[in-house]
Amino acid sequence: MKKAENQNRHIYWNPYFGGFLLGLLILFTFYITGRGLGASGALKSSVVTVVNQVSPEHSETNAYYSKFLKDSNSPMNNWLVFEALGVILGAFLSGALTGRIQWQTQHSPKITARRRLVFALIGGLLFGFGAQIARGCTSGAALSGISMMATAGFISMLTIFGTGYLVAYFFRKNWI
C-alpha cells in the first residue's frame, strides 16, 4: 500500500468531495466577510505596492495604480493578500501530507521543460492582463460571482471555458 502510494503521486480527493468542501468554504466566507474568495486581486495589490515603492511619482500619475492608492492604508493591507498567503501555506500543508512537495517542472513528455516555462510565463501574462479587464479571475469573478448569481460571473465562466475549448486544438501538443 505504502509503496503504491509512493509510485503514484496523483492520488487526489474525489472531485465531488473537494467541490463540496469548496462550496462550504465559499458559504462560510460569505457568511463571515460578506464577500467571496479571490486570487488575482492579491497579485494586483502586490504589483501596486511594488510599483509604488520603486517609483511613487509614476504610480500616482498612472490612472490605474492611483485608484488603489489611498493615503492612510497601504494597498498591501488587503484582505486578498492575506488570503493568497494562506493559499500558499495551505497548499504546502496538503503537499507535505501527501509527499508532493518537490522542485519540478511538470510538462508533457513531448515538449521540453524550457518550452513549458515559456508558455507558462506567456499564459500568466495573458491571464493577468485578462483578469484585470474582467475585474477578477476564475476564483474571484467566476466562482464567487456565480455563488452570488452575478451576471458577470456567468459571463466570465462561459467565456473562459468557451474560449478554452475553441483554442484547445492549437495548444494540444503542450498537453496531451
Binding site: F82, F92, L93, A96, L97, G99, I101
Partner: protein, 313 residues
C-alpha cells in the same frame, strides 16, 4: 520669544510618559538574547548529561551562532542607548532589585563563558588552524578538561538570561501590557524554542533534528498555553489591563499578533513539525524559519504594543 506654560504634567515630550522610546533594536536584542540563551541551555544541558556526541550541532556550530547573536544583540542595544558613553556605568554597581543590572552582569558572564566554550572546541571546529602558541595550547587543554564545569556554570546563567528578557519588561509597572508575571517564563520558553529552531536549521544530522523537533514542539505547546494564560490574566484584570488586552485582540496589533505570531509563528510550524514526526516529509527549513521569524515578531509586537499602554491618564 515664545513662552509656553505647562499646566499639567502631561503630554510634554520627555517629561511625562515619554512614549515609544524603545525601538526595533531593543526587540532584536531581546530576540537574539533569548535565542542565544536557548542554544546555550541545550548545549550545556546535553554536555552535563554526557550526551555531547548526539548533539554535535548544538554544542559546536550553534555556539558560534550564539557568539554572533550576542555580539549583534549588544551592538543593537548599544545603538539604541541615548547616552552611549555612559554604558560603563552599568558595571560600576550591582543592584539586586534592578533587572537591568542583573541583565548587564549576566550578559557579561555569558558572553565570556561562551567565548571560552567555543575556544575549547577551536581545534575541532577549525582543524587546519592548529594553535601553535604554547600557553594558548595549554589553556585550551585546560578548558577541554573543564568543559563540564563550564556547562554547569552556563546552564543557570542561560536560564537567567532567557528569563531576564521578559522580567526586564514586566518590571515596568507603568506599562500594563508588560506588567504581568507570565512575561518572564513566556520569553524564556520562546527563547528556548527559537534556540531549538536555530539548531534544527543548522543541523545536518537526522537524529539530532528529530530530537530538537520534539523538544521544539513541546516548547511551542507550553508557549501557547502561557500566551493564553497571559491573555486570560489580563482579561481578569482592571480597566488598564483590559485596554492593554484590547490592543492585542481587537486593536492595532491584532493582525500582527494573531496572524504572524500565533498562526504563522507557532501553530503552523508546530503542525508541520508534528506531521514531520509522524513520518511525512516536510522541508525542515520552513518550520524552523517560521519559528525564528515568529519569535522576532513576537518581541516587536510586545515592545511596540506595550509602549501604547500606560496607567496615567
Amino acid at each position: 520669544m515664545q513662552e509656553e506654560l505647562f499646566i499639567s504634567g502631561r503630554n510634554i515630550p520627555k517629561i511625562d510618559p515619554s512614549l515609544e522610546v524603545w525601538h526595533f533594536p531593543i526587540s532584536l536584542y531581546l530576540f537574539l538574547g533569548g535565542m542565544a540563551a536557548g542554544i546555550i541551555f541545550f548545549a550545556s544541558l546535553f554536555t552535563i548529561l554526557g550526551k555531547e556526541n548526539k548533539v554535535q550541532t548544538a554544542i559546536k556550530p550553534a555556539m558560534i551562532i550564539v557568539l554572533f547573536a550576542l555580539s549583534i544583540g549588544l551592538i543593537a542595544l548599544f545603538y539604541d542607548l541615548t547616552h552611549k558613553l555612559y554604558v560603563w556605568r552599568l558595571y560600576t554597581t550591582i543592584r539586586v532589585e534592578s533587572p537591568m543590572s542583573w541583565g548587564a552582569w549576566v550578559l557579561l558572564f555569558v558572553t565570556v563563558a561562551s567565548f571560552l566554550w567555543v575556544f575549547s572546541y577551536f581545534s575541532e571546529l577549525f582543524p587546519k588552524w592548529s594553535i601553535k602558541t604554547g600557553w594558548l595550547k595549554s589553556f585550551e587543554r585546560y578548558l577541554i578538561n573543564h568543559r563540564k564545569q563550564l556547562a554547569i556554570i552556563l546552564l543557570p546563567l542561560s536560564i537567567i538570561l532567557g528569563i531576564y528578557t521578559g522580567i526586564l519588561l514586566s518590571a515596568f509597572n507603568a506599562r500594563p501590557l508588560w506588567n504581568n508575571a507570565i512575561l518572564g517564563p513566556l520569553f524564556l520558553v520562546s527563547g528556548l524554542s527559537t534556540g531549538a529552531a536555530c539548531i534544527i536549521l543548522f543541523s545536518r544530522d537526522h537524529i539530532e533534528r528529530k530530537l530538537f523537533s520534539k523538544i521544539d514542539l513541546a516548547l511551542i505547546i507550553i508557549e501557547l498555553a502561557l500566551i493564553a494564560h497571559m491573555l486570560m490574566g489580563m482579561y481578569a484584570g482592571s480597566a488598564v489591563q483590559l485596554e492593554a488586552l484590547d490592543i492585542l485582540i481587537r486593536g492595532e496589533y491584532t493582525v500582527m499578533f494573531f496572524v504572524f505570531v500565533i498562526i504563522l509563528g507557532l501553530i503552523f510550524p508546530a503542525l508541520l513539525e508534528s506531521i514531520e514526526l509522524l513520518g511525512f516529509k516536510v522541508p525542515v527549513v520552513i518550520p524552523a524559519l517560521l519559528i525564528l521569524i515568529g519569535g522576532l515578531l513576537f518581541r516587536m509586537v510586545m515592545i511596540e504594543a506595550g509602549q501604547l499602554t500606560r496607567y496615567l491618564y
